[in-house]
Subunit: 241 residues, 2 copies
DNA sequence: CAACAAGCTGCGGGTTTACGCAAGACGGCG
DNA sequence: CGCCGTCTTGCGTAAACCCGCAGCTTGTTG
């Protein structure tokens, strides 16, 4: 009497998930599969799916995008994210879109069979949130401020990553030019862009703005999918004049 | 009488490869597996492997890095790259390291079983190069100049992506400041950074330098692994004063 | 309420970027 | 050889960027 929707790129992983669901949830009688985010959204709508397992990184339409629209239509949907990576960019992306009180989970693909099955039961049957330990760590840092980044810092990081000028950022965020630059300084500080820049020889200097983006990338604060989303939002904003 | 080494992150894909090798190469009597680049290099050395199937994107040590050191030790090794992506960054990275006359292959994970098996036989038995059609396209563009990027353009792209200043680039590449800036202009041109910048309203302007990097990322000219490698090279250069 | 921290803003100035203009340098080609 | 295209370099300028300094607005705390 339970239906589960699997949204996952890779056929191997898809069939693995299928088996795992069958094994972990005997009360589940139908399993549907989608091979990308677009199809996933459509199937979720058609079947009014209440239980979804979703990959984050998919070529066609990213898991976060798909989850967002699904949750917009029915916020009580339970979604288990099953991902290869625990990049801060993904973690931040997910926790930005989960509706209040929704049951969801975040399990890494490297987790054991047991963990996956346990998570499936906890979320779909017990309505509990299950977040992988490793991911949890990031989340703390990300929301709390310890060593992590404020939302406004993250925001401006994305803005310069997109290639906006200070002026454009100011306009977009409704700030003065100087405020934007303040935030930038703050960002450069946290990313440690200076130390690598200084190097007592004054010649080996970095372009702070570009360097900050790169460092963020190398630290997985940003990744392709985050950029992609940000770019889409930017275009939207540009169109809205 | 043939040994095959499989280097692949994901356990599912690893066992899939294992089966594929067994099915396609009955003359192969032993299959060894490594779960990341570091182990892969070690096993290749210990076993003097002549036939390797390698994933490109691996957490620990990237397939390109591993392949490079393996080929440095024994250039006649045959390597089949099996990857999820056909990013120009990967294609360029691979073709940069393949030794003269070496037999290698590049097959996408989305290819059919048949294609994979055929590629295995062609490369390991017939010593032929097998490059996936989709990848091939990129390679042409990348080496030929049609619409693609010159090496020097790509080089400077990487440099600004790393966050170097014009001056630093000039020093590193042995050019004058102005020449560096010339190449940048050229790059901006090809990346079409202007059109999105202009937009008749003079306010919606982009920071060309940062924008170029982002556009390159979105077009898969750059990706994480390319950045990682470039960063390592940069550090090396910095240490060498 | 006073005191204080945190964030926004304007001003000013030193540095870096982006780029037009023009003078060489180098290589191919008729 | 002279012509031409491509690449390099210097000069000069307008704009953008980085940032110290100082005045203001907040929200918080004793």
């Amino acid at each position: 009497m339970m239906k589960v929707l699997i949204v996952e790129d890779d056929p191997l992983h898809r069939s693995y998930l299928h088996e795992a669901v069958n094994a972990a949830l005997p009360e589940c009688d139908t399993v549907i599969e989608a091979e990308n985010g677009t199809v996933g959204e459509k199937l979720a709508r058609d079947h009014k799916s209440a239980h979804i397992v979703m990959d984050l990184q998919m070529a066609n339409r990213n898991g976060i995008e798909a989850a967002r629209t699904i949750w917009k239509e029915r916020p009580e949907t339970r979604i288990l994210f099953w991902s290869n990576y625990s990049d801060e960019a993904y973690v931040r992306g997910v926790s930005r879109i989960v509706p209040d009180g929704a049951a969801y989970g975040y399990v890494l693909k490297s987790a054991s069979d047991e963990r996956l099955k346990l998570a499936l039961r906890s979320i779909f049957i017990e309505s509990q949130c299950v977040i992988d330990r490793e991911v949890r760590g990031l989340q703390q840092k990300s929301l709390g401020q310890t060593n992590g980044f404020t939302d406004s810092e993250y925001e401006i990081l994305v803005d310069i990553a997109l290639g906006l000028t200070d002026r454009a950022i100011a306009k977009r965020r409704g700030l003065s030019l100087r405020s934007v630059q303040n935030r930038l300084q703050q960002l450069y500080d946290k990313l440690d862009v200076y130390q690598s820049a200084g190097d007592d020889h004054e010649d080996g200097r970095f372009n702070l703005r570009a360097r900050a983006v790169t460092v963020a990338f190398l630290r997985k604060l940003l990744n392709y999918s985050a950029l992609e989303r940000a770019e889409a939002e930017l275009q939207e904003w540009l169109d809205g004049k």
